[in-house]
């Protein structure tokens, strides 16, 4: 119930509905010329259907209730039928409205519009044709059943049906129009008001005359009715019909006229009246519907035309405003349209380029730069001939004579048969862009020239090490990489000297892996197959987030510098050796002199002593004296030796715990340059995890350098395969170092460690003796072995101290 209550229409609407309903009942009572029948033109049926068509379905109960109240009220006032009969008749009316509204809504949809003839006919058929059957059947049965006014079912039924149908025809369209356009305040023009007035006068006059029998044809009222229907559609027709009904009612009440027609029987007159009104209403409604449909059609057409015009205007604007040139050509290439921008640019429209003895196309081509014109003509001709799209860049002369770069495209529009109907062209002004591109190209060329002019080679690699760029100078110098060489690894293997490759590649791999810049010096093969020293510096290029985009390698030739450096080192080396030799010679000379003095005295005295003893007689006294001197001087010589020994003796013990691999690495570094100069390949291999050794690092390094140098010198005469290996390994409680060469070998392995033993032309013969003394002072051993198949192995051991181990 609450739902029903909340769905309630406004009271004022219900009140108005009841008032109109009661008014309709009063009208029916007046028009009932068979007094007391109440059967005549039943206007409430039209009101009821129109209300239910307009109101939402949820409020229908309220309207049924209100209708019931209104009809019972009217029954009390005028009809005076027994209450059950009145209620049954109302039930018929309500059913008629319900079924009529439901059917019309179902067929025409919501909201119900009567804009077309079809809609109108459906409305008439369902609302005025089908629906009144309910009311007529129940009403006639009730009249018959209650024996009201002695009416039989079959006499009452048509009266009921026609009465209700006429009511629906007259009132429903008008009521619907009023309800639907309640808020609509369409202003009528003065001319329309004038027309309404004239129409009203004519209508009133004709109606009055015809109903008063001054005019013998009642139907003469139909033309003005149709006029109203044509000119003012539903509203006009409905108002005119209401007017007609009122006049009819007025005449019927006054009984002045027996409308319409001349029949003697009141029943026939009654039916004729109903038919007249029904036919008039039907005609007016149909004419109104046709008129409305026609007007709406015209309205739609006008709207479509307006829309079309607007679209056309928009398109024109678009074509003119779009910041490009648009042009159209005939299939032969004759220009037939330039948009406004193009016309403004050229300073002439498409019609202005007509020249005597020349086509429009020729005239257009005149505006193209003379250099580009032939190309333009050829390309356009080709496109026109083949139907292929046209695309070209050319310079076009502006109205002020300045040429602008244009990028032009044209595509053919084909008809349904595939033939070209027109060409549509689009042309951009790309002057700024072209100039910017030129500037960019110029800069790029400048940079490239700069790169090529610089005495450096540049290579770039992607993070995947794939080669992305090689400068011209590089290609000129080294030669373009072979087809199969695509990345750094292959390139390095190809151009780097085999001896330098492992070290160089290791450095590069480390750099690439860690993302750190790196530098390599190595011999690189050039185009002629000659190896030259270069220095290659490699740097990553990163983006804002730090990700590596490219690796750039800049390399410079350092062959001359390397030669100069080697020469310098050789000179330094030689100088050092000379000074060393000189100082050694000086030292030995001093030592010799120091020792020779007392020795000379000892020997001279010995001879003298010998002479004194062998004289005749022997001079014992002098002999004794000389022997004393011999002893003295010999002791003096021994003192000299002691002094020298003291001079060379280590006064401070500089032994500490140290890593043998560090010492080997330092010795390697010291000797590396010398090895490279003598083309000796040093192969150093140190076991991992060797314990620390308690030693004098400087002395052990001296031993290593000495032994390595000996090995290198032993191979001096070899033409190739100058390989010297240093191997450090642990054997039991010692670390053993082997220095292995492929030289001439050792003829006297037992004697080489003796002082002053030398196989060298300029050697002192002290080196190995000193080495052995150093090694032995460390508690180790130094020995020599034969190397297989040739050469020698010099090996020494150093003990691992137990205190170091712990």
């Amino acid at each position: 119930m609450t739902g029903l209550w909340t769905q309630r229409p406004k009271f004022i609407h219900l009140g108005l509905f009841v008032a109109a309903y009661v008014l309709g009942c009063a009208f029916a009572q007046i028009l009932a010329f068979m007094p007391g029948t109440g059967i005549s033109i039943w206007l409430p049926s039209g009101l009821f259907i129109a209300t239910l068509l307009f109101a939402s379905r949820s409020t229908w109960a309220w309207w049924l209730l209100a209708g019931c109240f209104a009809e019972l009220f009217a029954n009390t006032l005028w009809f005076r039928s027994p209450l059950p009969a009145a209620f049954l008749i109302y039930l018929g009316n309500a059913l008629e409205a319900l079924i009529g509204a439901w059917l019309i809504r179902r067929v025409l949809g919501d909201p119900v519009r009567l804009d077309t003839l079809q809609q109108m006919l459906i409305f008439v058929a369902l609302g005025a044709g089908v629906a009144p059957i309910m009311a007529a059947t129940i009403g006639a049965a009730t009249v018959d059943g209650f024996d009201i006014l002695s009416q039989s079912f079959w006499t009452a039924w048509p009266l009921f049906w026609i009465g209700d149908a006429t009511g629906v025809l007259i009132v429903a369209p008008l009521a619907l129009a009023v309800l639907q356009n309640w808020g609509d305040r369409t202003q009528l023009s003065a001319t329309q008001w004038m027309e309404i007035c004239i129409l009203g006068l004519i209508f009133g006059g004709v109606a009055a005359l015809s109903l008063n029998h001054y005019l013998s044809f009642t139907y003469i009222v139909v033309p003005p009715l149709l006029w109203a229907a044509v000119r003012f559609e539903f509203k006009g027709a409905a108002i005119a019909l209401m007017f007609l009904v009122l006049i009819t009612a007025a005449f019927t009440m006054s009984s002045g006229g027996e409308f319409p027609g001349v029949s003697e029987s009141p029943k026939e007159r009654h039916i004729l009246l109903q038919l007249f009104l029904a036919i008039s209403a039907l005609s007016a409604m149909i004419v109104a519907a046709i008129s409305r449909q026609h007007r709406l059609g015209l309205l739609t057409l006008r709207k479509s035309m307006d829309t079309l015009r607007h679209r056309e205007w928009e398109l024109t604007q678009l074509v003119d405003v779009v910041p490009s040139h648009l042009w159209r050509l005939t299939p032969d290439g004759e220009p037939i349209f330039f948009n406004r921008r193009m016309a403004d640019f050229l300073g002439m429209g498409v019609a202005d380029i007509d020249r005597p003895n020349a086509t429009r196309l020729d005239a257009l081509i005149e505006a193209i730069h003379p250099v580009d014109a032939p190309g333009f003509r050829t390309a356009l001709r080709h496109s026109l001939a083949t139907g292929e799209p046209f695309a070209l860049r050319y310079r076009l002369r502006r109205a002020d004579g300045v040429y602008h770069w244009m990028s032009s495209r044209a595509d053919p529009l084909r008809g349904e048969d595939g033939r070209i109907v027109q060409w549509y062209g689009l042309c951009h002004d790309i002057d700024d862009q072209v100039h910017a591109e030129e500037a960019l190209r110029e800069r790029e060329r400048g940079l490239r020239e700069l790169l090529d002019a610089l005495p450096i080679n540049i290579l770039s690699f992607a993070p995947t090490r794939k080669m992305t760029y090689a400068s011209k100078r590089y290609i000129d110098k080294v030669g373009a990489p072979l087809v199969h060489i695509e990345d750094f690894d292959a390139l390095a293997r190809d151009v780097a000297h085999p001896e330098d490759f492992p070290r160089m590649f290791a450095v590069a791999s480390h750099g690439f892996a860690t993302g750190q810049p790196f530098v390599n010096r190595f011999r690189r093969r050039d185009k002629q197959g000659i190896y030259r020293w270069i220095e290659a510096r490699t740097q990553p290029q990163r983006d804002a987030s730090g990700t590596i985009l490219q690796w750039h390698i800049v390399s410079i030739d350092i062959e001359d510098e390397m030669h100069a450096q080697q020469a310098l080192r050789a000179a330094q080396d030689s100088l050092a050796r000379q000074s060393q030799a000189a100082s050694l010679a000086e030292l030995s000379a001093s030592i010799a002199h120091e020792v020779n003095q007392p020795l000379a005295a000892v020997i001279a005295n010995s001879h003298a002593c010998h002479r004194w003893l062998t004289a005749d007689p022997p001079n014992i006294e002098r002999a004794n004296k000389t022997v004393d001197r011999i002893i003295r001087d010999a002791n003096s010589a021994a003192d000299v030796v002691s002094r020298i020994r003291a001079l060379f003796k280590q006064s401070v013990d500089t032994r500490v715990n140290g890593a043998i691999e560090d010492i080997v690495a330092e010795a390697h570094n010291l000797i590396a340059e010398e090895a490279a100069r003598h083309r000796v390949l040093l192969d150093v291999e140190v076991d991992r995890g060797l314990p620390a050794i308690f030693m004098d690092a400087v002395q052990i390094k001296q031993v290593l350098v000495n032994l390595i140098r000996n090995g290198m010198e032993a191979m001096a005469g070899l033409a190739e395969d100058k390989r010297l290996s240093v191997r450090v390994s642990r054997i039991d409680n010692t670390v053993q170092i082997d220095i292995r060469d492929h030289g001439t070998g050792i003829e006297a392995p037992d004697r080489i460690f003796e002082p002053f033993f030398t196989t060298k032309e300029h050697g002192m013969g002290m080196g190995l003796a000193i080495c052995r003394s150093i090694v032995e002072s460390h508690g180790g051993r130094l020995w020599a072995e034969k190397n297989e198949p040739k050469g020698a192995v010099l090996a020494f051991t150093l003990p691992i101290e137990s205190k170091v181990l712990s």
Partner: protein, 125 residues
């Protein structure tokens, strides 16, 4: 061997060498006159001297200069040079010098050379 004992002058800055030469020469019957420097010899004069033995490396005037000086007054005087520095002997300047002895020298060889020189001198004069 002549009746008159020949006089041999010896110059050396090392007293041990000087003494040993003196002893050796006297054991061979020569009269010796010892000087610890070239200056000392020149101061006492060269008259009465039959032969000169001088060390090369000495403070002040060295053996070569002394020889040159003495030869001006006594061109025919035999001069023997002795040295403990062998590198001097190796030098070119000393290559063709007669009577150069390296310390330590053989006593017999030296005495033989002295005797030979004195005999030649005697013949020459």
């Amino acid at each position: 061997m002549s009746n008159v004992k020949s006089v041999v002058a010896v110059v050396d800055d090392d007293p041990r060498v000087l003494e040993s030469l003196e002893e050796l020469l006297e054991s061979a019957g020569y009269v010796t006159r010892s000087f610890s420097s070239a200056g000392a010899l020149l101061a006492s004069g060269t008259s009465g001297i039959d032969l000169l033995i001088t060390d090369i490396g000495m403070p002040g005037m060295n053996g070569f200069e002394l020889r040159d000086q003495v030869k001006k007054a006594r061109p025919k005087l035999p001069v023997f040079l002795i040295t403990g520095r062998h590198e001097i002997v190796d030098q070119e300047r000393a290559q063709d010098i007669d009577g150069l002895f390296r310390k330590p020298f053989d006593g017999q060889v030296l005495l033989a050379a002295i005797a030979d020189a004195l005999q030649h001198k005697g013949n020459g004069e």
